[in-house]
Amino acid sequence: MDYTKQIREIATKLFTEEKIDVFVGYRTTGFDENQVPVIITGLEEIPKLIFNDKSVFNLTNYLKQEHTRNKRVGLIVKGCDSRSLNLLLTENQVKREKLFVIGIACEGVCDDEGNKMQHCTECMFPDAVVFDEMVGTTHDARLYQVNADVRELASKSLVERREYFETVFESCIRCNACRHSCPLCYCAKCVIDQETSTLYHGANTTSSAFHALMTWSLHLAGRCVDCRNCESACPMNLPLHLLHKQNESVIYENFQEHMAGVVEGDRGAFYKYSMKDPDDFIM
């Protein structure tokens, strides 16, 4: 998967026709295979742009950053990224008319070692769902399957799961990089940063990590698009996707909702209801 040529062509067209002020894409680091997101502002920077299977980072995160605010933005989105873009549109965080979206029919991206990332092998929506121009060959619909890691962990005993997650929360250093790298965490002030003596959880204890990650994953329940920006940002490599994928599987299996961000205007499972929702867990 290498769409560098197409991306550069489209970006050139956009800048020449003065349709955008900035373009958010990827460039090489200059020293290894990996890539750096880059915000370019003019034609002269277009040769920097690149797109291939190392273009991992979900660029919709930049729509909440000050460098794109109130500007006309050109943007590359893969399948998962486009779903987060869809949610950002639904949640009124960005204006569609200010965006020019290059959708990618994604073949899956690779990790540092060059292996296809796990979530890409399970991806249900590799093609961008929001786009102005599509690049690549589109795919047929794929079936939902519960994430392999979640399935494996769920098959273990309660005690094993507890021990596993105790290690996770213990390893967390509360840097909040997961939150900052998430395109859907755009609150002016996060609930776990609210300063009131009894509410505040700034300390880095296992207990506060439990609190922060649980609150975070519940705020993303039904919204997480599985782009794994959080995991790539986590300096401790925590398996944060487990929490999100667990919620996703519960939501998908019990409420028969769409996957997050697939349908425009769909806010996610927590913001609607059905009379037929399961009731048997309630006395």
Partner: protein, 657 residues
């Protein structure tokens, strides 16, 4: 720092017998913020309240905790005590140590005491985060809008107007009167429908407090309780009502004949018409779908014969705006089309008619001079089969519910048939006879005796034609046999269904409707006339099928609600509602999505840091918010808080146990 006063009640022996009250007071005194704690025999008594009032002043207390019975019992009492002492009443918290401790742990005094102490501790912690709240007053426009001019709308409008509150009554058709105007006699008293309805219709037309806007529809309603603005579309009638005298020359001369809806299409009316002789207003309108002048530009006879020049072919529809404070929705009902009953030959056999067609036939002012006739040959029928539950209680073809009125009007029809055609015989196929109502069962019993009608309990499986008769084959489940009845006429008691544009109307008004399309009341038992949206009320069959007495009762109930709403110049509201901290609001509008009352709107505020840019944030309409807190829980940024149940208060309770 907070200075909390705690007052623990003995409630005579109710609390003191099972909870060690002095111990609770001792425990409470250990809390840092508690500056005063005392026990007393009856806190709700006058001396008890006096204790609170004195302590507030003496100890400069900033919040009060009363540990006594359930807050659902005496919260108001103690709030008043705080008010009397000059303290904001919402600085009170009640710890429920009676219903939640002493009464339910009577065998374990130690545990009950510990629990009571914990409950007090929680209340203290919550009260520290209590804020002063002030009752909300919302100005009201004292004018009601009634949508629909059937008996429900008429009754509601008259009752409201009699209380000297202006009413705008909007009716879709050219005349008010609704379905009731089509009825001949009414059960169970056999009053003439016209005789009891038309005086009311005239009252509406002449009432100084009622503005009747016929031939119009409400197309938009914005605002909130007490402060709505309605846009009403007045259809073009092509007749200037102000100059028209209602002489009738126009419709007598009009050459275009059109099936008459009022008579269920049994006879014809003209393209310019008044729906029925007693119509209010008794002014004709031109039916633009048939008038050849409007369609082809030829004719114009009506204009020529009109002596006052009231005909205006260039008339355009018109939008009227009215400021109103409350809405009564009374859009009535429709009847179910029995077409799916193919095995009965509906549509094939002319001599199968619906109940309302029968009603028009037997009506004194009906198309057949008050006699039932066979549509096929115009003969007077002798054997008439009435089939009930056509569409009702039929999940397969119709709807699941019981239409409620069919049993009674079918009984009435057997009597009317008996009166009009003495040698006739009525057969009634029924599933059950549901005659719940004052005098209803007696009415049915008497009818069965007087008319000697044959009642057959069972469904009809098939109707087929044999020569000029209809053979009705059905089951008599009481004898367990298939029976066949030779009928001259078959009358189907079709189901009551909601008007088909109810969902559209509901969306326009911002209220909810059920799966059938009936508008939903706020609570099925305790708030049957209110909708979830404050200031919008329901009367009549638009909410569910009902008969005339129920409809009138509900309409009057609506009027009482409207009058209550307009009793003062402003409405008083509990201040325990949500507010948005715009600094934290990210504008995601999840709150807008989940609010059951449509109380949340958006507004633009400056970006901050002196920036000229604007951003969108949520704003709670305090007139509409009911304080459920749905928005608070979906607000991820914690920008919304619900007064009286803030996150801070609840977390304080949780961590203080």
């Amino acid at each position: 720092m907070a200075r909390v006063g705690v007052f623990v009640c003995f409630c005579g022996a109710n609390i003191a017998d099972y909870v060690d009250v002095p111990m609770v007071v001792e425990e409470t005194k250990k809390i840092r913020e508690v500056k005063f704690a005392i026990e007393y025999k009856y806190m709700c008594s006058d001396p008890g309240q006096q204790l609170i009032r004195e302590a507030i002043v003496q100890h400069r207390l900033t919040s009060i905790v009363v540990a006594a019975c359930s807050p659902r019992m005496h919260e108001k009492t103690f709030r008043k005590a705080l008010s009397d002492a000059g303290m904001n009443p919402y600085l009170l918290e009640v710890a429920n140590i009676r219903e939640h401790s002493s009464w339910v742990h009577q065998k374990d005094k130690k545990a009950a005491t510990e629990k009571a102490a914990d409950l007090v501790r929680m209340a203290v912690a919550k009260s520290i985060a209590n804020e002063q709240l002030f009752e909300i007053s919302v100005p009201v426009t004292k004018r009601a809008l009634v949508i629909g001019g059937g008996i429900a709308g008429i009754q509601a409008a008259l009752d409201i107007a009699d209380a000297r509150i202006p009413v705008v009554l909007v009716e879709k058709s050219p005349s008010i009167g609704g379905k009731m105007a089509q009825l001949d006699e009414t059960f169970p008293t056999l009053d003439c429908s016209q005789c009891i309805l038309t005086p009311k219709m005239v009252d509406v037309a002449s009432h100084p407090y009622i503005e009747l806007i016929p031939y119009s529809e409400v197309i938009e309603l914005e605002g909130f309780v007490g402060n709505y603005k309605a846009r009403i579309k007045k259809k073009a009638s092509y007749v200037n009502f102000a100059t028209c005298t209602g002489c009738g020359a126009c419709w007598q001369k009009c050459p275009v004949k059109v099936p008459n809806e009022y008579n269920m299409g049994i006879d014809k009316r003209k393209a310019i018409y008044t729906p029925f002789p007693q119509a209010v207003p008794n002014k004709p309108v031109i039916d633009a779908a048939y008038c050849t002048m409007l369609l082809k530009g030829k004719c114009g006879i009506c204009a020529k014969v009109c002596q006052v020049g009231a005909i205006d072919f260039k008339m355009q529809e018109e939008i009227i705006e009215r400021e109103i404070g409350a809405v009564v929705v009374a859009t009535g009902y429709d009847l179910w089309d029995p077409k799916p009953y193919e095995e009965y030959g509906v549509g094939r056999f002319k001599d199968i008619i619906t109940s309302l067609e029968f009603e028009r036939m037997v009506s004194a002012n009906g198309p057949t001079n008050g006699l039932p006739v066979r549509p096929s040959d115009g003969k007077i029928p002798k054997n008439v089969v009435f089939i009930k539950c056509i569409g009702s209680r039929d999940e397969a073809k119709g709807i699941e519910y019981c239409s409620k009125i069919c049993c009674m009007y079918t009984t009435k029809h057997t009597i009317l048939l008996h009166h009009k055609v003495h040698d006739s015989h009525a057969y009634v196929f029924y599933m059950d006879i549901r005659a719940a109502g004052k005098g209803y069962e007696e009415f049915v019993k008497k009818a069965q005796v007087d008319t000697a009608a044959t009642y057959l309990r069972g469904r009809v499986s098939k109707i087929y034609k044999k020569e000029d008769k209809l053979i009705v084959r059905g089951e008599d489940s009481q004898i367990g046999q298939v029976v066949e009845v030779v009928a001259d006429l078959v009358v189907l008691a079709t189901a009551v269904i909601p008007p088909k544009d109810n969902p559209e109307l509901a969306r326009m008004l911002g209220i909810s409707y059920d799966k059938y399309g009936y508008l939903s009341e706020a609570h099925p038992k305790l708030r049957p006339v209110e909708t979830a949206k404050a200031g919008i009320f329901l009367a009549g069959c638009t909410q569910a099928p009902k008969d005339i007495p129920d409809t009138v009762a509900q309409a009057s109930a609506c009027a009482a609600k409207v009058c209550g709403l307009f009793a003062g110049d402003t409405m008083k509201k509990d201040p325990m509602i949500s507010t948005v901290n715009t600094e934290f609001c990210s504008g995601c509008q999840n709150c807008v999505q989940v609010c059951p009352y449509g109380a949340i709107v958006t507004e633009e505020v400056p970006m901050g840091h002196g920036s000229k840019e604007m951003r969108t944030v949520a704003r709670i309409n305090e007139g509409v918010c009911q304080g459920c807190g749905s928005c608070v829980a979906v607000c991820r940024s914690m920008a919304i808080s619900l007064a009286g149940f803030t996150d801070h208060q609840i977390i304080n309770e949780i961590v203080s146990i």
